[in-house]
Symmetry: C2
Subunit: 586 residues, 2 copies
């Protein structure tokens, strides 16, 4: 080793010891005849002292060091006169006796500080320097700790980690696959997995009973702000279980992680909310339940008063923002603009203020007399000083808009404290989702999700009515995982494919191996998969998964550090039996 200690461990009890450290020059300061260097490694920062009077040569050598030079230093631990209580090593410094430059450094293109002066693109290009910043590094270390704790918990629960293949088969259902041309079989391709879904089900057929894997998955999507073409899942499956067993097991995992990583213990069970309730009370399938402000349906209460916007609406709903009765015209206009943005698309916003004296004032006073407005207050639970906000329109669309408005109000009212965690199970999802454009049903989770047995009868007559034994784990309004009880019966699986518009031949071509497997004694099973990047971000108190990935891609799916994707040699293409079609690009 080039060192006897790290830069994070020396304390006052080491006083007088002769030590050798190695690391990077974080900072160099001169005070008269003294030179101070902050030496940094992964473990911390230790102050080195050089005294011109004691050793002029050494001190001159130190003064020539640049930022980010890599050095090895030997010296004696001394007590600081000017202690720094913010640093674990702040009580001591090293009286340097010898330094060796292990490597020099160009001047880095941005400062290696918690608040760097580097822009996003620049920091990504020099990600290896960005990763030297303490906050970025601690994100990656948090992720490491989480991965170890996930494994510790699941291993302890009897789960077996099994690696499933990365070179698999392309399936047309779902998002786009990344594909890999085969050199040995020209014209044929592997696909990278969007998830190990079918393999984990095959492992259940194989009798593995409890499986997990922390595994890279791939989706060739047009990237939204916070998506990555490659992402990591905590993928799990169990046999001989009911939905409750899964929820209990993985609530256990979540509790374990919160306890080990954040020191947070939840005294109560995570609440379980049916999908329909989540939609009608929060306008979303991933409610942020750190605060209330639930949606109240007002349709019947407001109609028949000659207000055209409400009378013509399929649905009218309201939220009550406690204590916001004094919102100014300007603030209310801002909110109106907010809900009218194309991403939300509400037609407008109606407000009712409840004044301090209990009287109500509204933007629709002329349609609704004071006693009716007061009845609104009763229904929505609004009291003196509160603000009722109402939106009308098509039901789902309006619920969604109210849900967004609720989050916005929660933010403005300071109700979304990132240090508070409110986990929630959303259960009883619909099995299918109708797509207006293609005029067909799609699987809400995926085609292997089991319909609720009591809804089986509607599979043909009214598929939209069928609910599934499917569930999501939501934390603070973010879905961090979801899963379902699977179909283990070949006939029901065939029915499902049929409902999704697969011909028997297509189903056999794509999933023949799974349908085959189901013929040989598939056990009842189900599972869940968590977005590991996102869970790490949430525990790290961030919205951005990119901060928790060592080498992320940008929103063009490009790694600007290594410059990929990039061209390959013609011989490689020839070997693979493929050609690039330039015409359409030129």
């Amino acid at each position: 080793m080039y060192r006897t200690h790290t830069c994070g461990e020396l304390i006052i009890s080491n006083k007088g010891e002769k030590v050798t450290l190695a690391g990077w020059v974080q900072r160099l300061r001169e005070f008269g005849g003294m030179t101070f260097i902050d030496l940094r490694d992964r473990y911390g920062i230790t102050q080195l002292v050089f005294n011109m009077e004691a050793d002029a040569d050494l001190c001159m050598q130190a003064r020539k060091l640049g930022r980010e030079f890599v050095i090895q230093v030997t010296g004696t631990v001394a007590e600081r006169s000017n202690k720094n209580p913010k640093m674990p090593t702040g009580d001591i410094e090293i009286i340097a006796e010898n330094i060796t430059v292990l490597n020099s450094s160009d001047i880095p293109p941005f400062t290696i500080e918690e608040n760097s002066d580097g822009g996003d693109e620049l920091r990504m290009k020099y990600r290896y320097l960005d990763l030297r910043r303490q906050n970025v590094r601690s994100n990656i270390i948090l992720r490491h700790r989480m991965a170890q704790e996930v494994r510790k918990y699941l291993d302890g629960e009897g789960f077996i980690e099994v690696e499933t293949p990365v070179l698999i088969k392309s399936t047309p259902e779902g998002a786009r696959d990344f594909v890999v041309p085969s050199r040995l079989h020209h014209g044929e391709f592997y696909a990278l997995p969007q998830s190990p879904q079918t393999f984990k089900q095959l492992l259940m057929v194989a009798g593995f009973d409890k499986y997990f894997q922390i595994v890279k998955c791939f989706r060739d999507e047009d990237l939204r702000a916070d998506r990555q073409p490659e992402f990591t899942q905590i993928d799990c499956e169990m046999s001989f279980i009911h939905q409750d067993d899964i929820l209990n097991t993985f609530e256990g995992l979540a509790r374990h992680l919160f306890r080990q990583i954040k020191g947070i213990t939840f005294s109560d069970s995570f609440p379980r909310m049916p999908y329909d309730e989540a939609m009608s009370r929060y306008g979303t399938d991933k409610p942020d339940i750190r605060f209330g402000m639930c949606i109240t349906e007002m349709t019947r209460k407001v109609q028949g008063r000659s207000f055209p916007l409400f009378d013509s609406a399929e649905y009218v709903g309201a939220i009550c923002a406690a204590g916001c009765g004094a919102y100014t015209r300007k603030q209310l206009d801002e909110l109106t603009e907010y809900v009218k943005r194309p991403q939300i698309g509400a037609k407008g916003l109606v407000y009712v203020r409840i004044e301090a004296d209990g009287t109500a004032k509204s933007s629709v006073d002329k349609f609704y007399p004071p006693d009716v407005l007061k009845s609104f207050a009763v229904i929505t639970g609004a009291g003196a000083g509160d603000l009722i906000l109402m939106i009308a329109g098509e039901r789902n669309h309006t619920l969604n808009a109210l849900g967004e408005l609720r989050l916005e109000m929660g933010k403005r009212m300071g109700l979304r404290d990132p240090s508070v965690y409110a986990p929630l199970w959303v259960v009883d999802f619909p099995l299918l989702e109708w797509d207006e454009e293609t005029k067909r049903f799609y699987a809400k989770h995926h085609p292997f999700t089991a319909p609720k047995p009591e809804d089986l009868e509607y599979m043909i007559s009214d598929p939209g009515r069928v609910h599934a034994n499917a569930y999501d784990l939501v934390i603070n309004g973010t879905e961090i995982g979801g899963g379902s009880i699977r179909i283990h019966d070949g006939d029901i699986q065939s029915l499902m494919f049929k409902t999704l518009g697969f011909t028997e031949e297509e189903a056999r071509h794509q999933f023949g191996f799974l349908l085959n497997a189901f013929r040989f004694g598939a056990p009842p099973h189900g599972g869940i998969a968590f977005g590991f990047d996102r869970w790490a971000a949430i525990l790290g108190g961030s919205d951005t998964i990119r901060d928790f990935i060592a080498f992320p891609k940008n929103n063009q799916a490009r790694d600007v550090m290594i410059d990929t994707p990039s061209t390959i040699k013609k011989e490689q293409l020839d070997e693979l039996g493929i050609a690039i079609k330039w015409i359409e690009n030129q």
Copy 2:
């Protein structure tokens, strides 16, 4: 849960308990009025009993069950009259009171027994049934245990597991890359990593200090018997270390695994053998040191006696097979055939038997008088009853042949006991390897391996002479891991690329980001990577890595279960901007 207990846990102390089990019907036997079913799950097998007299309906129901049916059974734990001491549950049986068929099964295409009647191809096609066999399952569980223990050890040593990207950049050096066409950037490709080599070095530049990852890697090679296009590495890197630190740290890992997985503790340090010694004494860079029988060079001793084969040879070497002096003509002919096989390619085999009375008999008696033959015995350490085997030819080629012969003799003599483990570090590898065909040097490890400082002076004048701080961990003649101290100096890295025949432009195009990174304070660093599949196979007592991979590909790189690679839709190709060149196939 569908069960109160697993099929592996009930013992005599559970006698009288009412239990529910779920699992697969392994075997069904009828004895007069009794029906016995062996119910199997991941955890074991439990015997169920049905009594025609007690409950005829239930018994008839049981008799209708087929092999691999999935059932749930409720009953009472009873003591067996006919105990089976080989089974953990062999003291008890379940007096069945109720059964529910959870799923039926077609008759499986092969028997689900340790010794199955299914051929290789069939078992691969139905891998989910193959995985039900206890021996196959326990291989996968062994692998799981190893993965957990690797992480436990390395996490305990302060290593951080960091996920490196899978969609990276193609590099022409080394084996062929699998590539992934980019839809967003037509004409450009990602490549799948052959190893995370450059990323782990960047993590060292980033100051991560100690990194590891258990990670999938990919090589598009023409597959040899026991290679897989996707395989798993335990990939590790450390900073501020010397070679000894790495060897000690990972010897610690190996000891930890042997202790935790096999219950084996090694009292001594693993021996460390220079590459040159391995080659000259064992004829290979991965010696099996479970036995001696080392190679003795005989060149000078045998030449000048008018035996043309020896006199014309660059090198003559011998091994001494103790106690094989009585080998018959037929056995000796077999050995001669063995070394003359094209894979080994020796021109012939010369033997000298040492008889019980100490006299020597040889196939070359007429060239070598008895006293000379006796001197051979002295040199090779042969005594009465031993057999000296000699091969002559070009030096490296002959050493290789002697190495193979040594292994063959070790096998014949029962010296390669699979329950004995002999780990060995091979060190001081040459930095470069000359390739006659392309007339250039190739990196023996990879282009980032550091030359030994004392050999730096030969980098230009005599590159073949330069040794590296590179090392392999060898167990029982199999290389399970290798690594090196890396170059952390940009100038030496440039010199290395130059020696390998890269132009400056090529080097910059391929590894520019790494050379760039080295300009910003790269610490001294080094690492190692282990073949996880192979290590699992060795600890599992097998030669075949495929047995330790849940869903392996065959030697055509094909997964016959899911039938991949396979064709994809024309729309997918169009979106990717590529076309298939059919001409050459048709």
